[in-house]
Amino acid sequence: MSVDVDKPAEPPAAAPPAQPEPIKAIPVRHYGRWVAALVVIGLLVLLVRAFASGKVNWGAIPEYMFNADILKGLRNTLWITVLSMVIGIVLGVVLAVMRQSKNPVTKSVAWFYVWFFRGTPVYVQLFLWFNLGLVFQYIDIMPIYKDEWSDFMTPFLCALLGLGLNEAAYMAEICRAGLNAVDEGQTEAAHALGMSHGRTLRRIVVPQAMRVIVPPTGNEVINMLKTSSLVIAVQYYDLLQAAQNVGRDSGVVVEMLILAAAWYLIATTVLSIGQYYLERYYARGASRQLPPTPFQRLKAKLAGPNRAGGAA
């Protein structure tokens, strides 16, 4: 831009007035922050020192990380989490729709279900399923199936029913909140276009409700992964049970508990990342510009650090 360099009227010193002089001021000193940081660091040092002086066999953790028993426990934990969530979501959607219906019977049954399963601890529910064998001797679904109760009600089934049915109550409330969050004008617009109730629900309401439903459902999955450690009550062989068994047999009890914690952390972290992308997908249309994913941000940074922020 050397177009108006030869302008005689303007002295060269006044040429760049575009950038006014920035304010130079002494910033406020936050002494409180310094003190707080020192206190926290001090406490951390104490904690690390305590563990360093304890007789933790740190080497045992990587050694048993991929131990066959531990991995079997981990597989079972993931499996029961996924299956319980599937039961929870399917049954939860059904309950939410029942709750919305105009039929007083289905409505009150759904209400009662949520009231019961949300109002009692999962641990108690698991024990109940486990001990039902004390009052039922046989399972007899007349024409289809008949068996000894104890053969039928395996630890796996106890865990699945206990976790899944409990989860359904929470999912029902999440779905109900999601459906209610969609503006009534949307239903009206769809109806005015001649869409039936079912189609309106499927094409218009549910996709918008998903934006409200997905984040808490992601939390529920993460919660379920951790809650599944309670299935120890029904003697299901999950990650925690495996860690305890291995720990007891090899004399590394605390180490195996730390190992279990590490596996739980890894699993929940992976789930959180998945949830981030899922939420992003359902936010489409809700905000003008989707925020870049961490990958996109990284790529933008690598492409040219000097035009940071200008990538969009």
Partner: protein, 269 residues
């Protein structure tokens, strides 16, 4: 053509044609609130019929009754000769099933004050949705028609935008295109410009004028007196659930007969 048809309703000379909308003693209440207290009116085919009145006078409610978004409590309301929400058989009324109500609504387009575009779909997808889902039109043909409709409302370049990326006026024009995609025989407008910035109102009114010139039957609840005067074939002033005055827009707006009409117009004109 909009002038030649204008006398049809006022004088009843166009008896040969079935009225597009016919209301006889229509009442509607929400609980204890009596909103419509006996509405009688007729809208002729190809007519632009404007409803004005203070808020709470029942004009929006009446509009919503026409496509059965609200159920009337008594009286008779028919669209193109068919009762709204009921089937008459041997002198008895049978309530229509949801599916039948939906089928009737396909022929009636509606434009809302707050647009009500589907936020999870682009402008083009909004317009394609009902033809594909309700009429079973192929996606390719629906897309082609949707693109033409977008062009007609002056938004050909916004096909891929989500509603949140459009201004209010643009959203409302997409909403009109969405209603037109079903090729309705009647269009209902519920205060289509009330939620818009003043400078965006003109674009939406232009689209509506264009539609009127094409001979679309339109029932328009509006506060745009200029539009009513310029485009309207008849105008009804409603207050407190009854029709106070009706006639040609020019007559009603310039020479109102009733005190209530005069005092309302003196405030809005």
């Amino acid at each position: 053509m909009s002038t030649s048809k204008s006398k049809a309703t006022n004088t009843g000379s166009g008896k040969a044609a079935v009225p597009m909308v016919k209301a006889e003693g229509v009442h509607k209440s929400f609980g204890a609130a009596h909103i419509l207290k006996g509405i009688d009116l007729e809208v002729a085919p190809r007519e632009v019929f404007c409803l004005i009145g203070p808020s709470g006078s029942g004009k929006s409610t009446f509009l919503r009754c026409i496509n059965h978004l609200e159920k009337i409590n008594s009286g008779r309301l028919s669209v193109d000769g068919e009762l709204v929400g009921y089937r008459e058989h041997h002198g008895k009324l049978y309530e229509l099933r949801d599916r039948e109500v939906a089928a009737r609504r396909r022929d009636i387009g509606m434009v809302f004050q707050r647009f009500n575009l589907f936020p999870h779909m682009t402008a083009l997808e909004n317009i394609m949705e009902a033809p594909v889902q309700v009429k079973g039109e192929s996606k390719a043909s629906a897309r082609e028609r949707a693109a033409k409709l977008l062009d007609r409302v002056g938004l050909a370049d916004k096909a891929g935008n989500y509603p949140s990326q459009l201004s209010g006026g643009q959203q409302q024009r997409v909403a009109i295109a969405r209603a037109l995609a079903m090729e309705p025989k009647l269009m209902l407008f519920d205060e289509p410009t009330s939620a818009l910035d003043p400078e965006l109102v003109g674009d939406v009114l232009d689209v509506m004028k264009d539609l009127a010139a094409d001979g679309m039957t339109m029932v328009v609840v509006t506060h745009e007196m200029g539009f009513a005067r310029e485009v309207g074939d008849s105008l009804v002033f409603m207050d407190d659930g009854v029709v106070v005055e009706s006639g040609h827009p020019r007559d009603v707006l310039t020479k109102p007969q009733h005190e209530r009409t005069k005092s309302f117009l003196s405030k809005v004109l």
